[in-house]
Symmetry: C2
Subunit: 159 residues, 2 copies
Protein backbone atom coordinates (compact mmCIF):
# COMPACT_ATOMS: atom_id res chain seq x y z
CA UNK A 1 0.00 0.00 0.00
CA UNK A 2 1.28 3.38 -0.98
CA UNK A 3 1.77 5.72 1.92
CA UNK A 4 -0.98 8.29 1.88
CA UNK A 5 -0.60 11.41 3.94
CA UNK A 6 -3.70 13.25 5.06
CA UNK A 7 -3.51 16.98 5.51
CA UNK A 8 -5.45 19.30 7.75
CA UNK A 9 -8.27 19.69 5.23
CA UNK A 10 -8.67 15.93 4.83
CA UNK A 11 -8.88 15.62 8.60
CA UNK A 12 -11.54 18.26 8.80
CA UNK A 13 -13.56 16.65 6.04
CA UNK A 14 -13.39 13.31 7.85
CA UNK A 15 -14.21 14.98 11.12
CA UNK A 16 -17.45 16.30 9.67
CA UNK A 17 -18.39 13.16 7.78
CA UNK A 18 -17.86 11.00 10.86
CA UNK A 19 -20.71 12.69 12.64
CA UNK A 20 -23.04 12.62 9.68
CA UNK A 21 -22.12 10.82 6.51
CA UNK A 22 -24.95 12.45 4.59
CA UNK A 23 -23.85 16.01 5.20
CA UNK A 24 -23.78 17.74 1.80
CA UNK A 25 -20.34 18.34 0.34
CA UNK A 26 -21.42 21.93 -0.24
CA UNK A 27 -21.85 22.40 3.52
CA UNK A 28 -18.39 20.99 4.16
CA UNK A 29 -16.99 23.21 1.43
CA UNK A 30 -18.58 26.31 2.94
CA UNK A 31 -17.18 25.63 6.42
CA UNK A 32 -13.68 24.94 5.12
CA UNK A 33 -13.84 27.75 2.55
CA UNK A 34 -13.01 25.49 -0.37
CA UNK A 35 -15.09 24.38 -3.33
CA UNK A 36 -17.49 21.45 -3.30
CA UNK A 37 -15.51 19.96 -6.14
CA UNK A 38 -12.42 19.82 -3.95
CA UNK A 39 -14.33 18.05 -1.20
CA UNK A 40 -15.58 15.58 -3.76
CA UNK A 41 -12.11 14.85 -5.12
CA UNK A 42 -10.58 14.47 -1.68
CA UNK A 43 -13.26 12.12 -0.43
CA UNK A 44 -12.85 10.00 -3.53
CA UNK A 45 -9.11 9.85 -3.01
CA UNK A 46 -9.50 8.81 0.58
CA UNK A 47 -11.88 6.10 -0.52
CA UNK A 48 -9.44 4.90 -3.15
CA UNK A 49 -6.60 4.94 -0.63
CA UNK A 50 -8.70 2.78 1.68
CA UNK A 51 -8.72 5.31 4.50
CA UNK A 52 -12.47 5.52 4.13
CA UNK A 53 -13.59 1.92 3.95
CA UNK A 54 -17.28 2.63 3.83
CA UNK A 55 -20.14 4.08 5.78
CA UNK A 56 -22.76 2.63 7.99
CA UNK A 57 -25.81 3.48 10.01
CA UNK A 58 -25.79 3.44 13.77
CA UNK A 59 -28.93 1.58 14.70
CA UNK A 60 -30.62 0.99 18.02
CA UNK A 61 -30.20 -2.75 18.46
CA UNK A 62 -32.53 -2.80 21.42
CA UNK A 63 -35.35 -1.47 19.32
CA UNK A 64 -34.60 -4.16 16.77
CA UNK A 65 -35.01 -6.84 19.41
CA UNK A 66 -31.33 -7.49 20.06
CA UNK A 67 -30.69 -6.27 23.55
CA UNK A 68 -28.18 -8.88 24.64
CA UNK A 69 -24.42 -8.40 24.40
CA UNK A 70 -21.78 -10.80 25.67
CA UNK A 71 -18.06 -11.18 25.31
CA UNK A 72 -16.84 -14.73 24.96
CA UNK A 73 -13.28 -15.82 25.54
CA UNK A 74 -12.33 -18.96 23.64
CA UNK A 75 -9.70 -21.54 24.63
CA UNK A 76 -8.34 -23.71 21.84
CA UNK A 77 -6.90 -27.19 22.13
CA UNK A 78 -4.07 -26.03 19.95
CA UNK A 79 -3.28 -22.67 18.40
CA UNK A 80 -2.63 -24.36 15.05
CA UNK A 81 -6.41 -24.66 14.78
CA UNK A 82 -6.93 -20.92 14.99
CA UNK A 83 -7.64 -20.34 11.32
CA UNK A 84 -10.06 -23.24 11.05
CA UNK A 85 -11.93 -22.23 14.18
CA UNK A 86 -12.23 -18.62 13.02
CA UNK A 87 -13.77 -19.80 9.78
CA UNK A 88 -16.38 -21.72 11.77
CA UNK A 89 -16.98 -18.75 14.04
CA UNK A 90 -17.40 -16.53 11.02
CA UNK A 91 -20.39 -18.62 9.98
CA UNK A 92 -22.29 -17.38 13.02
CA UNK A 93 -23.61 -13.92 12.17
CA UNK A 94 -24.32 -13.14 15.82
CA UNK A 95 -20.59 -13.02 16.45
CA UNK A 96 -19.92 -9.50 15.27
CA UNK A 97 -16.29 -9.23 16.31
CA UNK A 98 -13.50 -11.74 16.88
CA UNK A 99 -9.86 -11.19 17.72
CA UNK A 100 -6.90 -13.46 18.06
CA UNK A 101 -5.48 -12.43 21.43
CA UNK A 102 -2.60 -12.86 23.79
CA UNK A 103 -3.31 -13.36 27.46
CA UNK A 104 -5.95 -15.59 28.96
CA UNK A 105 -7.79 -16.49 25.79
CA UNK A 106 -6.78 -17.59 22.31
CA UNK A 107 -9.73 -15.96 20.61
CA UNK A 108 -12.00 -13.29 21.91
CA UNK A 109 -15.49 -12.64 20.51
CA UNK A 110 -18.34 -10.21 20.84
CA UNK A 111 -21.80 -11.73 20.57
CA UNK A 112 -25.12 -9.98 19.98
CA UNK A 113 -28.31 -11.86 20.73
CA UNK A 114 -32.00 -11.35 21.29
CA UNK A 115 -32.06 -12.58 24.86
CA UNK A 116 -30.41 -15.03 27.21
CA UNK A 117 -32.03 -18.05 25.57
CA UNK A 118 -30.75 -16.97 22.19
CA UNK A 119 -27.32 -16.25 23.66
CA UNK A 120 -27.22 -19.73 25.15
CA UNK A 121 -27.81 -21.20 21.68
CA UNK A 122 -24.98 -19.14 20.23
CA UNK A 123 -22.54 -20.03 22.99
CA UNK A 124 -23.40 -23.70 22.56
CA UNK A 125 -22.69 -23.32 18.86
CA UNK A 126 -19.27 -21.96 19.75
CA UNK A 127 -18.62 -24.74 22.26
CA UNK A 128 -19.50 -27.28 19.58
CA UNK A 129 -16.84 -26.11 17.14
CA UNK A 130 -14.02 -28.62 16.69
CA UNK A 131 -10.85 -27.33 18.25
CA UNK A 132 -12.59 -25.20 20.89
CA UNK A 133 -11.77 -26.61 24.26
CA UNK A 134 -13.73 -24.27 26.48
CA UNK A 135 -15.33 -20.83 26.47
CA UNK A 136 -15.81 -18.22 29.13
CA UNK A 137 -18.65 -15.73 28.89
CA UNK A 138 -18.93 -12.22 30.23
CA UNK A 139 -22.42 -10.85 29.97
CA UNK A 140 -22.85 -7.14 29.47
CA UNK A 141 -25.25 -5.63 31.96
CA UNK A 142 -24.93 -2.21 30.41
CA UNK A 143 -23.04 -0.70 27.53
CA UNK A 144 -21.87 2.43 29.32
CA UNK A 145 -19.53 3.80 26.69
CA UNK A 146 -19.57 3.31 22.95
CA UNK A 147 -17.96 6.21 21.22
CA UNK A 148 -15.49 5.83 18.44
CA UNK A 149 -16.30 9.34 17.20
CA UNK A 150 -14.62 10.82 20.25
CA UNK A 151 -11.45 8.93 19.41
CA UNK A 152 -11.57 10.11 15.81
CA UNK A 153 -11.93 13.72 16.88
CA UNK A 154 -8.95 13.23 19.19
CA UNK A 155 -6.89 11.74 16.39
CA UNK A 156 -7.75 14.59 14.04
CA UNK A 157 -6.91 17.22 16.61
CA UNK A 158 -3.50 15.72 17.25
CA UNK A 159 -2.15 17.42 14.13
Amino acid sequence: MAKYKLDEIDHQILDMLIDNTRIPFTDIAKKLVISAGTVHVRVKKMEEAGIIQGSSLTLDYKKLGYSFIAYVGVFLNNTSQTKFVLERINEIPYVTVAHITTGKFNIFCKVRAKDTAHAKDIIFMLDDIDGIYRTETMISLEESINDKKRLMHTIFNEL
Copy 2:
Protein backbone atom coordinates in the same frame (compact mmCIF):
# COMPACT_ATOMS: atom_id res chain seq x y z
CA MET B 1 -40.76 5.33 23.95
CA ALA B 2 -43.64 4.49 21.71
CA LYS B 3 -43.49 1.06 20.15
CA TYR B 4 -42.50 1.42 16.53
CA LYS B 5 -43.04 -1.44 14.20
CA LEU B 6 -40.91 -1.69 11.10
CA ASP B 7 -42.36 -3.31 8.05
CA GLU B 8 -40.71 -5.15 5.18
CA ILE B 9 -40.03 -1.93 3.26
CA ASP B 10 -38.39 -0.27 6.25
CA HIS B 11 -36.16 -3.30 6.65
CA GLN B 12 -35.13 -3.18 3.04
CA ILE B 13 -34.38 0.51 3.22
CA LEU B 14 -32.19 -0.07 6.27
CA ASP B 15 -30.57 -3.04 4.61
CA MET B 16 -29.43 -0.85 1.74
CA LEU B 17 -28.42 2.13 3.82
CA ILE B 18 -26.32 -0.04 6.11
CA ASP B 19 -23.97 -0.89 3.28
CA ASN B 20 -23.73 2.65 1.98
CA THR B 21 -25.33 5.54 3.80
CA ARG B 22 -24.86 7.85 0.84
CA ILE B 23 -26.83 5.76 -1.59
CA PRO B 24 -29.36 8.11 -3.23
CA PHE B 25 -32.93 7.70 -2.06
CA THR B 26 -33.93 7.49 -5.69
CA ASP B 27 -31.84 4.34 -6.09
CA ILE B 28 -33.52 2.77 -3.08
CA ALA B 29 -36.89 3.80 -4.47
CA LYS B 30 -36.18 2.22 -7.83
CA LYS B 31 -35.16 -1.10 -6.32
CA LEU B 32 -38.17 -1.27 -4.03
CA VAL B 33 -40.53 0.13 -6.67
CA ILE B 34 -41.73 2.97 -4.50
CA SER B 35 -41.20 6.70 -4.79
CA ALA B 36 -38.19 8.56 -3.48
CA GLY B 37 -40.53 10.68 -1.41
CA THR B 38 -41.70 7.58 0.41
CA VAL B 39 -38.14 6.55 1.16
CA HIS B 40 -37.46 10.00 2.49
CA VAL B 41 -40.49 10.00 4.78
CA ARG B 42 -39.72 6.53 6.11
CA VAL B 43 -36.09 7.31 6.84
CA LYS B 44 -37.14 10.46 8.68
CA LYS B 45 -39.62 8.50 10.75
CA MET B 46 -37.03 5.91 11.67
CA GLU B 47 -34.70 8.69 12.72
CA GLU B 48 -37.37 10.29 14.83
CA ALA B 49 -38.21 6.94 16.40
CA GLY B 50 -34.57 6.51 17.31
CA ILE B 51 -34.11 3.31 15.31
CA ILE B 52 -31.59 5.15 13.18
CA GLN B 53 -29.35 6.89 15.67
CA GLY B 54 -26.94 8.33 13.16
CA SER B 55 -24.41 7.44 10.57
CA SER B 56 -20.68 7.10 10.55
CA LEU B 57 -17.72 6.36 8.38
CA THR B 58 -15.78 3.17 8.62
CA LEU B 59 -12.16 4.24 8.64
CA ASP B 60 -8.95 2.27 8.46
CA TYR B 61 -7.47 2.88 11.88
CA LYS B 62 -4.17 1.33 10.91
CA LYS B 63 -3.70 3.90 8.18
CA LEU B 64 -4.45 6.60 10.72
CA GLY B 65 -1.65 5.36 12.94
CA TYR B 66 -3.79 3.46 15.42
CA SER B 67 -2.97 -0.18 14.89
CA PHE B 68 -3.18 -1.36 18.47
CA ILE B 69 -6.32 -2.88 20.00
CA ALA B 70 -6.62 -4.32 23.46
CA TYR B 71 -9.42 -5.46 25.70
CA VAL B 72 -9.02 -4.58 29.34
CA GLY B 73 -10.92 -6.23 32.16
CA VAL B 74 -11.29 -4.04 35.24
CA PHE B 75 -11.66 -5.20 38.84
CA LEU B 76 -13.20 -2.71 41.25
CA ASN B 77 -12.65 -2.51 44.98
CA ASN B 78 -16.38 -2.18 45.33
CA THR B 79 -19.21 -2.21 42.80
CA SER B 80 -20.70 0.90 44.40
CA GLN B 81 -17.89 2.80 42.67
CA THR B 82 -18.97 1.68 39.22
CA LYS B 83 -20.59 4.94 38.18
CA PHE B 84 -17.71 7.08 39.39
CA VAL B 85 -15.12 4.87 37.71
CA LEU B 86 -17.00 4.88 34.42
CA GLU B 87 -17.03 8.66 34.45
CA ARG B 88 -13.24 8.64 34.84
CA ILE B 89 -12.87 6.03 32.11
CA ASN B 90 -15.06 8.12 29.86
CA GLU B 91 -12.48 10.89 30.05
CA ILE B 92 -10.03 8.71 28.15
CA PRO B 93 -10.93 8.93 24.47
CA TYR B 94 -8.83 5.87 23.64
CA VAL B 95 -11.34 3.74 25.49
CA THR B 96 -13.93 3.38 22.77
CA VAL B 97 -16.22 0.89 24.47
CA ALA B 98 -16.96 0.01 28.09
CA HIS B 99 -19.46 -2.41 29.54
CA ILE B 100 -20.54 -3.25 33.04
CA THR B 101 -20.28 -7.04 33.08
CA THR B 102 -21.03 -10.14 35.06
CA GLY B 103 -18.39 -12.81 35.30
CA LYS B 104 -14.72 -12.30 35.93
CA PHE B 105 -14.60 -8.54 35.58
CA ASN B 106 -16.70 -5.67 36.85
CA ILE B 107 -16.05 -3.48 33.85
CA PHE B 108 -14.81 -4.46 30.45
CA CYS B 109 -13.20 -1.99 28.03
CA LYS B 110 -11.94 -1.82 24.51
CA VAL B 111 -8.85 0.31 23.99
CA ARG B 112 -7.41 1.68 20.76
CA ALA B 113 -3.85 2.96 20.77
CA LYS B 114 -1.04 3.87 18.44
CA ASP B 115 1.37 1.24 19.64
CA THR B 116 2.38 -0.72 22.71
CA ALA B 117 4.02 2.29 24.35
CA HIS B 118 0.86 4.30 23.93
CA ALA B 119 -1.24 1.39 25.16
CA LYS B 120 0.91 1.14 28.27
CA ASP B 121 0.17 4.80 29.03
CA ILE B 122 -3.54 4.22 28.65
CA ILE B 123 -3.56 1.12 30.81
CA PHE B 124 -1.60 2.98 33.49
CA MET B 125 -4.22 5.74 33.33
CA LEU B 126 -6.86 3.11 33.99
CA ASP B 127 -4.89 1.56 36.84
CA ASP B 128 -4.57 5.00 38.40
CA ILE B 129 -8.30 5.61 38.65
CA ASP B 130 -9.57 5.57 42.23
CA GLY B 131 -11.65 2.50 42.85
CA ILE B 132 -9.90 0.34 40.29
CA TYR B 133 -8.15 -2.45 42.09
CA ARG B 134 -6.52 -4.23 39.20
CA THR B 135 -6.79 -4.64 35.42
CA GLU B 136 -6.15 -7.52 33.10
CA THR B 137 -5.20 -6.88 29.48
CA MET B 138 -5.78 -8.98 26.41
CA ILE B 139 -3.89 -7.73 23.41
CA SER B 140 -5.39 -8.26 20.00
CA LEU B 141 -2.94 -9.85 17.60
CA GLU B 142 -5.42 -9.70 14.76
CA GLU B 143 -8.95 -8.49 14.31
CA SER B 144 -10.21 -11.46 12.34
CA ILE B 145 -13.89 -10.63 12.25
CA ASN B 146 -15.59 -7.26 12.42
CA ASP B 147 -18.90 -7.35 10.68
CA LYS B 148 -22.03 -5.89 12.13
CA LYS B 149 -23.55 -5.59 8.67
CA ARG B 150 -23.83 -9.35 8.41
CA LEU B 151 -25.83 -9.37 11.64
CA MET B 152 -28.10 -6.62 10.38
CA HIS B 153 -28.79 -8.49 7.16
CA THR B 154 -29.61 -11.56 9.24
CA ILE B 155 -31.98 -9.58 11.43
CA PHE B 156 -33.75 -8.10 8.43
CA ASN B 157 -34.14 -11.45 6.75
CA GLU B 158 -35.74 -12.98 9.82
CA LEU B 159 -39.05 -11.36 8.88
